[in-house]
Symmetry: C2
Subunit: 251 residues, 2 copies
Amino acid sequence: MTEFNDFFKSAFTVDNVIFGFDEGDLKILLIKRGEAPYKGKWALPGYFVYPNEDLDTAAKRVLEELTGLRNVYLEQVQTFGATNRHPFGRVITIAYFSLVKISDYNLQPASIAQKAQWHSISKVNDLAFDHIEILNACFQRLKWLVRTRPVGFELLPPQFTLTALQHLYEAILETDLDKRNFRKKILSMNLLIDLEQTQEGVAHRPARLYQFDRDKYDQFRAEGLNFELKESKKKEAKRAAAHRKMLQPSS
Amino acid sequence: MTEFNDFFKSAFTVDNVIFGFDEGDLKILLIKRGEAPYKGKWALPGYFVYPNEDLDTAAKRVLEELTGLRNVYLEQVQTFGATNRHPFGRVITIAYFSLVKISDYNLQPASIAQKAQWHSISKVNDLAFDHIEILNACFQRLKWLVRTRPVGFELLPPQFTLTALQHLYEAILETDLDKRNFRKKILSMNLLIDLEQTQEGVAHRPARLYQFDRDKYDQFRAEGLNFELKESKKKEAKRAAAHRKMLQPSS
DNA sequence: TCAAAAGTGTTCTTATTACACCCATGG
DNA sequence: CCATGGGTGTAATAAGAACACTTTTGA
């Protein structure tokens, strides 16, 4: 039988999937581990929770130490606690994700890591611990969130074009969206302020710039806001066809 | 500075919000605590996670010890870890919820509790620890889940009437649904098997009995299934009016 | 004048909502 | 024969999906 005090021999960490968006690509911030275990491997930024620290506070601390950013979108996602997930003992981890504007980001010297770097989410495939599993859970959650709440703005600079916004949604949802329907839907929500400015120096018709209207969002949020986005069926069908084709032996 | 070994002095528990449905009421199973802390108070069933036990396993164990039930719907919801939430030290808890058929339920002698009892969720207001907060988080999650996945069946006996199913949804969503629209929607999903039997011995026209078609559900689940239910606007308006009236001083 | 991305409306289809009466049974 | 809850269809509205051409700019 387990003694009561045997229960008080565990530790817990927070791990943070920090999403950013750059060059049309959804990215996450990873650190190259400078110490055992998994020395030299890429990992999610995370650390032990201090004895007198709340979980959210720990997640914020990890984020701020690494990026210098405060007041970013941060949400608890899921807790991972397989008995064998950490070689040093029983360590469970509470996974968070956060959304940052890469343009705001300044790399801080981080004693825990030799190196911190943005990685395209599509190219991440081998991480320390069970971090791939954590990443997947957080990515799934982000997909859901982005269809439900207008959090996309957290990942863009304060001024953006509708096309940039659409590309962000397409990157997160891993699908194509119809341009006209997307604009109709987004604009009909009345959450964007038209800055009545346009891009400069682009080799094509310059796009209008918009800003997210946070006040109006806070106003709407009370009443529960609908924010669904669906894939275009035609493009979905094309993609499915291409996929089938790919799977078939060439004849 | 915190020593490394200071991190390994925490414990964690699982707490389980066990939902059931009986007499038109959504209920949860609570235990009256037989020991300190919070001796004599009602609490969510939960216990420490053993050193060699996975989190989901611990949640299943707690559930099975208390109810004798296995193979019930169980889902991790959120982790609560405020530094002061447990008087014995740093104890974080991973909250789960489960859905059981009260008809299947058999109370097991539970050494941890003097007493286990079903409580109408609307009447629960004072629980040990931060369990009210946990309950709220799980209830919110259930509301979302029930609009998204056909999990309602987990709470009903194997054979049920459409009216019973509707009452379940109304209890969970805390709203009224239109009878005809509800039936149309539910039947159009083709997830019910009409047993071609009717109730017996009721003092009104006997209702047809249905069964959940789990095979068909598993089949559909792969493709991602829509399962939305909306409140009738008229009834919503009525409710809002009643609420406003209630808030006004009688003149 | 060409390339590149911006911008814009309409039609069709599908899903949601509102709504009221007759039916079968037991007491 | 009455009370109780079971069972049914239709029309109006709203939301979503498909779809192609013109505009503005820099090179």
